[in-house]
């Protein structure tokens, strides 16, 4: 579950005011808004990458407002994937497990599971250089899910993809959500994505959140 209560977030001269939202456990929420409406700022507030000036953020019933991003347990997929140039796909999937000192045999098993789920088993030894847009997003999603987070935040994950790949990844996101029951917040400005994926829809207009 993701819950925000009267949250204000400032980003330079721009600010998000009095944001309240509730996404139930295993819900798939889509946050819409025009470019510059503060979608990413809101996401960064939930992730802890941007401090909130007031209000409260709860994840699965725990108040994480003052928690460091490292302790929030959120899987994060940024817009362009932001893959680690020096690591192989396998190392990407192992990243969260490595931080958590998961033993090697369990780690390998988890990587194999994830790679099969995402259809990237054949890419495991490769580095991000030369991966297609769709492959990059699959790796970024896999990296975010490897630590089995309770919450997944996606920042316009499909914006740079062609329509064929876009619908494939949409389907993949739906499957993942059904299998893992992860509470998901998906930021986009695309209405089709919202139609296909959303259980709950929100829209940011002029720094305020509207439930649709």
């Amino acid at each position: 579950m993701i819950e925000m209560r009267q949250v204000c977030i400032r980003s330079g001269a721009f600010q998000l005011l009095d944001i309240s939202l509730r996404i139930p456990t295993a819900g798939y929420a889509v946050l819409m808004g025009r470019t510059g409406s503060g979608k990413t700022t809101l996401l960064e507030g939930i992730l802890g990458l941007r401090p909130v000036t007031s209000g409260q953020i709860e994840l699965c019933g725990i108040d994480v407002t003052a928690h460091s991003p490292a302790l929030r347990g959120i899987g994060y997929v940024p817009q362009d994937g932001a893959l680690f140039a020096r690591l192989t796909v396998e190392e990407h999937l192992a990243f969260a497990l490595r931080v958590r000192h998961v033993p090697a045999p369990r780690r390998k098993q988890r990587i194999a599971e994830l790679a099969a789920l995402l259809g990237i088993t054949h890419l495991l030894p490769r580095t991000p250089a030369g991966l297609s847009g769709g492959e990059r997003q699959r790796v970024a999603i896999g990296r975010a899910l490897s630590g089995q987070p309770r919450v997944l935040c996606l920042d316009e994950p499909l914006s740079a993809l062609d329509s064929q790949t876009r619908s494939e990844i949409c389907q993949l996101l739906r499957n993942i959500q059904q299998q893992t029951q992860v509470t998901t917040l998906h930021v986009t400005h695309n209405h089709d994505e919202a139609e296909t994926l959303a259980d709950h829809r929100f829209e940011l207009i002029d720094g305020r959140l509207h439930t649709q």
Partner: protein, 316 residues
């Protein structure tokens, strides 16, 4: 049809196709002006390249000229020239051997020390915003803009005061002074290189690493630093080359004592002072060669490292 599709210029000059206002250039003048533009760029930029190559060529020509006139004078001819070549003579001189050895060691130590401060400073400057950041940025430029002699003098004065003065006896006018003087200048260049390297690495990657549970050290060590390797190689090379050419601060802070604090740049100065231009040019050419070797090694190593990373798993 009266829309003027067939004669856009005659019927609707303001709303027609791209050529409605007529061609901006005739094909001939366009090609000529483009050629002239690139020719102007090449000529203006080329003057500097010509100067660099001409300087090195002049050094080499001077050496050849000296060898030629010696061959003409000496009854043994070319055999004598080969045996008493100014470069070989310089290489055989124990004083110059010592100076080469000290230069190589001090430049390498300085480059390592420079990278040790450049990585943390560059990362801090690139990733954090704090009060006095602009001031710190300006302070880091001081060694770049300050006259080299002033840096040497300032170091000398600094070591008059505690706690520096406690170590002055074993540093000032001793071998460590060579490294301190080179480091004082070379680090500034290494810091600039590392800052711009980290500026070009997307901080979003570290944010993702942090959201995956990393602390700042892990995000730096596992994500940012591996991506900065190429910049680190450049910073090392720049610091090394800068140290090799350092002279002013060395002269004042380390002195120019033969077989003690003499490095290659000091050798050139000392040989010039005693009127031995031949040896000075020979040592200069040795420095040019050393610099070229280091540049080539680091470029080749950097390129092959990049290839290993990007070619780790070739695209099918």
């Amino acid at each position: 049809m009266t829309t003027g599709d067939a004669h856009p210029r005659e019927t609707s000059p303001r709303v027609g196709g791209p050529d409605a206002w007529g061609r901006p250039h005739s094909p001939g003048t366009l090609a000529l002006s483009n050629r002239l533009f690139f020719a102007a760029l090449a000529i203006l930029g080329g003057t500097y390249v010509v100067l660099i190559v001409a300087m090195l060529a002049a050094d080499a020509a001077f050496m050849l000229q000296q060898s030629w006139s010696r061959a003409m004078r000496d009854p043994a001819g070319w055999q004598s020239v080969l045996a008493h070549n100014p470069m070989l003579t310089a290489l055989r001189d124990p004083k110059i051997q010592y100076s080469i050895w000290l230069s190589m060691i001090s430049c390498t130590v300085t480059a390592i020390l420079s990278c040790l401060v450049a990585v943390p400073l560059g990362y801090l400057m690139s990733r954090t915003r704090f009060a006095g950041r602009q001031l710190l940025d300006a302070i880091l430029d001081i060694p770049v803009v300050l006259p080299p002699l002033v840096i040497g003098l300032s170091l000398l004065i600094l070591f008059q005061y505690p706690p520096w003065s406690w170590t002055a006896r074993s540093i000032v006018y001793q071998v460590p002074a060579v490294i301190v003087a080179q480091w004082a200048v070379a680090s500034a260049f290494a810091v600039r290189t590392m800052k711009s390297t980290f500026d070009h690495i997307d901080p979003r990657c570290e944010q993702v690493a942090i959201s995956l549970g990393c602390n700042r050290l892990q995000a730096f060590a596992w994500v940012a630093f591996p991506e900065a390797t190429r910049g680190l190689v450049t910073a090392f090379t720049l610091a090394w080359a800068r140290s090799l050419g350092e002279f002013g601060p060395l002269l004042i802070f380390a002195g120019a004592t033969r077989m003690k604090t003499e490095v290659l740049s000091t050798t050139v100065f000392l040989e010039m002072n005693v009127g031995n231009i031949e040896a000075a040019v020979a040592v200069s050419l040795l420095m040019v060669m050393a610099a070229i070797v280091v540049l080539v090694i680091t470029r080749v190593w950097g390129a092959s490292y990049e290839e290993t990373i990007s070619g780790h798993t070739p695209h099918p």
